[in-house]
């Protein structure tokens, strides 16, 4: 029932269009994952201490949460459409294997939408206890929703849960596809990334206020609560990053080789820290002997498969993957150091770091965390190329034959720029309005 066999001349634009839409949506997902927990934490502090500062903070944050959720709803909808509009052959062939994950995600999304409305519009309408309880489903649905979507991504990287008999799908096991061997580390990695992005961005707003001389309880709490979450998430991310790298080494050796730009299969492969990869060579950076083998297999002499192990047509664009990977790791290291700075000052001196550089670093950390997040997704998704379903279907086989991809791409760029500018403009103004602390 395939009708369109036209060759798509704009495959790259189609991929960029999808990447753009994901790049816009994923930072919003971070707020879906992490922000409800922070809001509830602040509300919990209010219920425990009776301090209206915390209530004002939770209330203000819940307003931001609602706006960002709404924007996430619409940017997420675009993604659903694009799956079909851009990759119809992918959906046609494999939809029945991984689709159930999206059905379950849909229910999470319902629960999130329902309880965000009850929570945000229920301030002072529900009893404090009922109000707090109405926030809990938002936290849970934020986790389950992203888990199911990541299940699909993990499946694309490591397709399981079906048999191929003479090239035809058989014995489809949707649950095995959903709980593939990639889902757990990807989920935890993304979940922690959500806390880092959301935490540093929120903290950045209050760090800026503090630099502007607003040193009252409200702004102090607004800085410390997200930093506390970040301080927990950052060190854990180091451990999960290691877990992720080992899983990639096992399931997708070519992707791992692209992380480093490793040409030949090597025992005791080194890792170059920093530097830039251009035209098949790494310029600059410091090579640490045997580190890649050690990180990938926890054995300094382990054999790491190089890019040349597969034909050139089966390799991802190495420069994009390697440079993105370095950006992610570099920024990640900075964020961990910053979180450690906060923790040490807090635990040893019982206060925030006194240096103005700390505040400046926190302000920079939010946008940098988004860069790291996107770089991480580029690493894993471009690293998956040229496959849309790893080893089974090439991206070029999945793409639509439809006309007009450049038009659609250009339209979306304009739409997202307008949307982003409006959201930032209105949120900045919201940040400037004084807090509504009740007496």
């Amino acid at each position: 029932m395939v009708m369109r066999m036209d060759i798509q001349p704009y495959l790259l634009e189609a991929r960029q269009m999808q990447a753009l839409s994901l790049g816009v949506h994923i930072p919003l997902v971070c707020f879906g994952i992490a922000f409800p927990a922070m809001v509830l934490f602040a509300e919990g502090l209010w219920l425990r201490t009776g301090d209206p500062t915390y209530k004002a903070l939770a209330r203000r944050w819940s307003k931001v949460m609602m706006i960002l959720f709404a924007v996430g709803v619409v940017t997420g909808t675009i993604l659903s459409f694009e799956l079909g509009l851009l990759w119809p052959r992918f959906m046609e062939e494999w939809g029945e294997v991984f689709g159930v994950a999206f059905a379950l995600e849909g229910f999470s999304f319902f629960i999130e939408a329902i309880f965000i409305a009850i929570y945000v519009y229920g301030w002072d309408r529900l009893s404090p206890r009922a109000h707090m309880l109405s926030g809990i489903p938002i936290v849970i649905a934020g986790i389950t929703g992203s888990a199911f979507v990541i299940g699909v991504n993990g499946w694309m990287n490591n397709p399981e849960g079906f048999d191929l008999v003479d090239g035809e799908l058989a014995n489809v096991r949707p649950m095995a596809a959903l709980f593939n061997s990639n889902v757990w580390h990807e989920l935890v990695h993304m979940y922690l990334a959500g806390f880092l992005v959301c935490g540093f961005l929120v903290a950045g707003v209050y760090a800026m206020a503090r630099m502007g001389g607003r040193r009252d309880r409200y702004h102090r709490a607004g800085l410390i609560i997200p930093l506390a979450f970040v301080a927990l998430a950052a060190p854990a991310q180091v451990v999960v990053g290691d877990w992720a790298a080992r899983t990639v080494a096992e399931n997708q050796p070519t992707k791992l080789a692209a992380f480093e730009g490793l040409e030949e299969t090597t025992a005791g492969a080194g890792l170059t820290v920093g530097g830039i990869y251009l035209g098949g060579k790494t310029y600059g950076g410091v090579e640490i002997p045997k580190l890649l083998s050690f990180l990938a297999f926890h054995d300094p002499d382990a054999r790491v498969e190089g890019l040349t192990a597969v034909p050139e047509s089966d390799r991802p664009p190495v420069a994009v993957v390697r440079n993105s990977f370095q950006v992610m790791v570099g920024i990640g290291t900075f964020l961990v150091a910053l979180a450690a700075w906060f923790l040490v000052a807090r635990l040893r001196h019982g206060r925030l770091p006194a240096s103005a550089w700390f505040l400046r670093a926190v302000v920079a950390a939010g946008p940098l965390a988004i860069v790291a997040l996107i770089a991480g997704w580029i690493t894993t998704e471009v690293g998956r190329q040229p496959w849309i379903v790893y080893g089974l279907m090439r991206t070029e086989e999945a793409v639509t034959g439809a006309d007009g991809i450049p038009v659609g791409f250009a339209t979306l760029i304009v739409v997202y720029l307008a949307l982003g500018a409006t959201v930032l403009y209105l949120l900045r103004r919201l940040a400037r309005t004084p807090p509504e602390v009740e007496d």
């Binding site: 706006i67 959720f69 619409v74 059905a103 409305a117 309408r125 489903p137």
Partner: protein
């Protein structure tokens, strides 16, 4: 058997979206036509108040429909996307504008900002249901698959379906919001939306009657399905639902009108699905051919049962809190002197 059950699930989702999501789009239609800043301020204020707590949950029904479609009927989903990418892309972009502008309008601080965002919200509220309605019309009138990216959804039946989607949304919105206005004790708005409900009902009825001739000429197979057997029964139920709603609106029975109006809209969709049995894409793909393997269908049904077991009580809670006024915000006219937050 499993395919029939999943199809039923799909139609439930589509009906829920047409009624709940459709009413939200219809509210945007009334926002668009509310008139100048001063005259329309109260209507716009009520629209915002009614929609705010529910529009996101209502929107998720669209995602639900898409997901069921691509999981359980992948070849049909791919064919629809292949053929109807123009209206679907316009709808997707319109959804960004509609939702984004609506959510952000609450933060508008000046009359100019509120007007600009309101205009985007209202215009896209008409565009999106039109495109989605035309998509449904194109599928029902056997236009999918086709290589004609424009002709496939600009045949008379598709355009009619697009127009019907806009008008029925406006009808539902007017009925729902008259009830909301009654609860809030805003008598002038009750009258305003009663007028709108009756007007939309007349237009919808005229479109439906005129549509009979259009469908007969443009899509004879669909016409036959809608004028015989179970398809015809659905059409009758829809017509009766519409008439009952008009009566209830005149008498001020808002709660019952909510229900009968929903029946009127839902019955048409069910009728269209019944009319094209046993085909999924008329003339191209039967339900059995379109359906995924049984294991996928069964797992989807189990997942949906579990999901609905959580979703339905949650939705009931949201609607109860909304309809009893617990989540009601203060009423603020929009666009006039009250545009400030």
């Amino acid at each position: 058997m499993a395919a029939d059950l999943v199809l039923a699930l799909l139609i439930v989702g589509l009906t829920a979206y047409a009624v709940l999501g459709g009413a939200d789009f219809g509210a945007g239609f009334w926002d668009l036509t509310a008139g100048g800043a001063k005259g329309g301020a109260r209507v716009r204020g009520l629209i915002k108040r009614s929609m705010s707590p529910v529009w996101e949950a209502n929107h998720v029904w669209l995602i639900f429909v898409l997901v069921i479609l691509w999981t359980c009927f992948p070849p049909a989903f791919a064919a629809i996307m292949d053929t109807l990418y123009v209206p679907l892309f316009i709808a997707a972009v319109g959804i960004i504008f509609r939702g984004g502008a609506f959510a952000l309008r609450g933060e508008a601080a000046t009359i100019g900002e509120a007007r600009a965002l309101g205009a985007i919200f209202a215009t896209s509220s008409v565009l999106v249901p039109f495109c989605l309605g035309a998509t449904v019309g194109a599928v029902a009138s056997g236009q999918v698959p086709s290589d004609d990216a424009l002709g496939a959804w600009t045949n008379a039946t598709s355009l009619l379906a697009g127009a019907m989607a806009v008008v029925t949304g406006a009808f539902l919105a007017a009925v729902f919001m008259a009830g909301d206005a009654r609860r809030a004790g805003l008598d002038d708005l009750v009258r305003a939306f009663r007028r709108r409900a009756l007007g939309a009902a007349v237009v919808a009825g005229a479109l439906a009657l005129g549509g009979i001739a259009i469908v007969n000429a443009d899509a004879p197979a669909l016409y036959d399905g809608l004028t015989s057997g179970a398809g015809f029964a659905c059409v009758i139920v829809s017509g009766l639902g519409g008439l009952a709603t008009i009566g209830l609106v005149r008498a001020g029975g808002w709660s019952s009108a909510r229900f009968t109006a929903s029946v009127a809209v839902g019955a048409v969709l069910i009728g269209m699905a019944v009319a094209q049995r046993p085909d999924f894409l008329p003339g191209e793909l039967t339900l059995e051919e379109a359906a995924a393997g049984d294991s996928t269908l069964v797992v989807t049904l189990i997942s949906a049962a579990a999901g609905l077991a959580i979703l339905l009580p949650s939705l009931a809670l949201l609607f109860r809190l909304t309809l009893t006024g617990t989540l009601d915000q203060e009423f603020h006219p929009i666009g006039d002197e009250e545009a400030k937050r």
